[in-house]
Amino acid sequence: MLTTTTITEFEEVLGTEAVVTDPVALRSYECDGLTGYRVTPALVLLPSTAEEVAACVSVCAREDIPFVARGAGTGLSGGALPVAQGVVISVQRLRRVLSIDPDNRRAVVEPGVTNADISRAAAPYGLYFAPDPSSGQVCTIGGNVAENSGGAHCLKYGFTVHHIHAVDVVLPDGTLTRLGSHAPHQAGYDLLGAFIGSEGTLGIAVRIEVRLLPRPAAWRTLVADFDSLEAAGDTVTDIIAAGIVPAAIEMMDSLSIEAVEAAVAAGYHRDARAALIVELDGPHQEVASQFAEIQRLCRDHGCTHLRVAADADERAVIWKGRKAAFAAVGRISPDYLVQDGVVPRTRLAEALTRIARLADAAGLRVANVFHAGDGNLHPLVLYSEAAGQHDRAEHLSTSIAELCVELGGSLSGEHGIGTDKACSMPRQFDADSLATMRRLRTAFDPHDLCNPGKVLPTPRLCGERPGPYQPHPLETAGVIERM
């Protein structure tokens, strides 16, 4: 339990300035990028070294205090939601790039370093870090490891898990150990594989050895407008069928385009029903021939306008628009929910039609922006809190995620399960699968102290009534509240 003696102990380890006890300051930590769930932590700790993190966790383990690691707090599934009476361990003072080994294309970084900062540090060697979540300017590598984050370019380059050699972790009992190595194949259990994507439930990453890639010799980027989402979806299918693996294929519908244009004026056409952003990278010649092929495929499917980025600046503007899409939706709707699900690429058009039908039935608008190449949808449910539409929006959003499962896809493509979708897990996994996951978790964290309440459904969290939205038991108890 957290007592004044424990607080003093934390202060002795970290210094008083790194222990936040002020009730007003603590409130700023009560949610991450998903503001619908809020819990004020009892304490926030700001360690500056891996050893300090280990010392904090040791105290938590000894005193039976639940703890939640937090990076930049940009997560969209409530993965960094604090626990009442628990502590938040922020890694925002572990922001050093420790070493870069350009010959072996590796870097060792602390968990609070952003994706953009890794690439910035690697740039002088002609290298970069490939995973590029849209929040890459601000989100931290520690959070990327926890969520196994993706991004627009994971179509070609894979997810975070494909770009990590090793992670030093603090286990829930305070042990500081290393998972993985830079050997291409590792003997024994793949603990690193288990850890990446565990959403902060198996320990805290404190040093990460990442893989760097040489910057491609060439890029080509285009934006193709279409009259319908189906035509755009069919174009995606044909590009993949042609054996081309673009670096990214993104799709936005007209509502998303409207929002993006209102926010950053990136030159998308507001009258397009759908816009595809296709990017190729690699050797000059290969990129040139495949780029011509892609333009031909776009025209074959009746694209109404084709914009080819003339230079690096225009490419940057196109991406700035796409990457600002979530936040930009704030310009066209007072409130919105970001959903994240996956459908088989071949069923994209079907998924979009059914999402539109669900939206109509709910009387709400849904904007779609997604990684079309791998079927990762990000439907944005637009609603007005003031008009009392919250519950309907929440219900619609959950229905969309569960529709993805029904179509043979997944509850989450990259944002994680977190708090938000723990209760939907039984839709995708049977009881044995969930029990296996629970056994793994218990092996790392037998006392349920490390980011408790995330990923796996619990009766306390999910209540006993499945189906449409019900007030959350914690909500009824006044422990959490939704916006």
């Binding site: 007003v24 949610c31 930049a72 925002q92 929040s135 601000v138 926010a263 600002a324 930009a328 007072p334």
Partner: protein
């Protein structure tokens, strides 16, 4: 500041009724966090409540009556530099400038500061906006240096034992000379060349600007005249209100705004120009600030529409005077109130690049504030020092032969942290030197360039 006694009433705003932060502006924030890496205090502390997102979150809680207006909240608002870098990164278009400007006066009115804090702030506001008093203080400063008192106090360790705020004040004292202090800026200078536009331009002489940077004003006047402008420099000796507005002293700031408008209206001007970024951003806000005042509403809007930063104006004017080569590598530091508040980034660089042989170097972390921020480096010395050191390191890494920046506060702050080895100038001083074909650095002002 100390704790207020009223407990918060959930549902009832903790702000008073005079211009509280607007609900729709608070709701614009979707908590995405894109602002975090641009925020100097977040970069330094890594603390959520020291970020724009965290501050907006606390404002929102106060507006909902969930937290009171007290010292705990106020200290987070006080620590904001007001650099507005966050507004350039925000995809949702949050108008943080309006939010922070609404909240600061609320705290000034409703949260009593400690006697020491009150005294220190009062002292600043009785000194800096008053050029006469400031000149007197600077005279004291000259004596303090010249008589060896400074060296002695440093040697004895007296300075080291001063409170951080006084230490900051001491360290920021610029090395002015008696000649600088006695320099009189002319009140009217005719155009040196006939220009098609033939603009009548009024220059805001500034308060700290005219005392510490009279040479920048002189250069501005010469450049404007050379470019065919007739220049007027109204001399009423009063501050434009920027320092007060940025510190939440609303009534004082508005009164100064009215007097500044009156002062410039006495001359029939096409353009009002300023060479201080912090003043310029406030002059351009007069229209919004005085929107409630029926006597001034329209005049203030017209005044703001006429206001230009000197680089902005020079970029608009077709160049008349010949630029002589200046073979120098210049690091240009973006002043926040120019780059973020006025969105003037390209113009100063264009104006500098128009000088033959001059190279403008990029610097790392260009968007992060240097820590000056009005009176910030006096009232929040620790954070300001860390930011100053960080900025100096980025500037050094660019290996410049000269550093240029368009704000008096930045010039003082950077000079303190960069040391003596790299000269610091306002960009207009380089333009002036180029037009006159002389070396730009003060100690060799008379020296002709070798190629002339």
């Amino acid at each position: 500041m100390s704790e207020t006694t009223d407990p918060p009433q959930p549902g009832t705003s903790s702000f008073d009724d005079h211009h509280p932060p607007a609900r729709n502006l608070l709701d614009d924030c979707v908590h995405c966090g894109f602002c975090l890496p641009t925020c100097p205090t977040y970069v330094v502390t890594g603390e959520e409540m020291e970020s724009p997102r965290g501050r907006i979150y606390l404002m929102d809680l106060a507006a909902k009556g969930e937290i009171p207006l007290n010292d705990a909240f106020g200290s987070r608002i006080d620590s904001c530099l007001g650099c507005l870098a966050c507004t350039t990164a925000c995809p949702s278009g949050v108008q943080y400038d309006k939010l922070i400007e609404a909240v600061r006066p609320q705290l000034e009115r409703n949260v009593p500061r400690t006697p020491t804090d009150r005294f220190f702030r009062a002292a600043i506001f009785h000194l800096f906006p008053h050029p006469g008093r400031l000149r007197l203080a600077a005279l004291g400063g000259i004596a303090y240096r010249a008589l060896g008192i400074r060296a002695l106090l440093h040697r004895l360790g007296v300075i080291r034992r001063l409170p951080a705020r006084l230490r900051a004040l001491e360290a920021l004292l610029p090395p002015v000379t008696l000649r600088d202090l006695l320099r009189r800026t002319p009140s009217h200078v005719p155009a040196a060349a006939a220009a098609p536009a033939g603009l009548r331009v009024g220059l805001l002489a500034g308060c700290a600007q005219r005392v510490f940077f009279g040479d920048v004003n002189a250069a501005t006047i010469r450049v404007l005249a050379a470019e065919g402008c007739e220049v007027y420099v109204p001399r009423d000796g009063q501050c434009c209100g920027a320092l007060s507005m940025h510190a939440g002293r609303e009534d004082d700031g508005l009164e100064r705004a009215r007097r500044t408008i009156d002062m410039f209206e006495r001359h029939d001007l096409d353009i009002v120009v300023t060479n201080v970024a912090g003043c310029g951003s406030t002059l351009k806000e007069y229209g919004a600030l005085l929107a409630d005042d029926p006597d001034y509403r329209e005049r203030a809007a017209a005044f703001s529409a006429r206001t230009r930063d000197i680089s902005e104006l020079l970029a608009e004017l077709p160049p008349l005077a010949t630029r002589h080569p200046l073979p120098l590598r210049v690091a240009y530091h973006d002043a926040c109130h120019l780059a973020n508040a006025q969105r003037i980034r390209s113009q100063p660089r264009e104006v500098l690049r128009a000088i033959p042989d001059l190279e403008v170097a990029d610097i790392a972390e260009a968007e992060i504030c240097c820590g000056s921020a009005g009176i910030y480096n006096l009232v929040q010395p620790e954070k300001a020092e860390e930011l100053g050191r960080r900025k100096a390191a980025s500037l050094h890494a660019a290996r410049p032969e000269v550093i240029a920046t368009a704000n008096a506060g930045c010039l003082l702050q950077i000079r303190r942290h960069i040391g003596e080895d790299v000269p610091l100038v306002h960009p207009v001083q380089l333009v002036d030197a180029s037009i006159r074909g002389v070396h730009p650095f003060r100690d060799s002002a008379k020296r002709r360039l070798p190629h002339d």
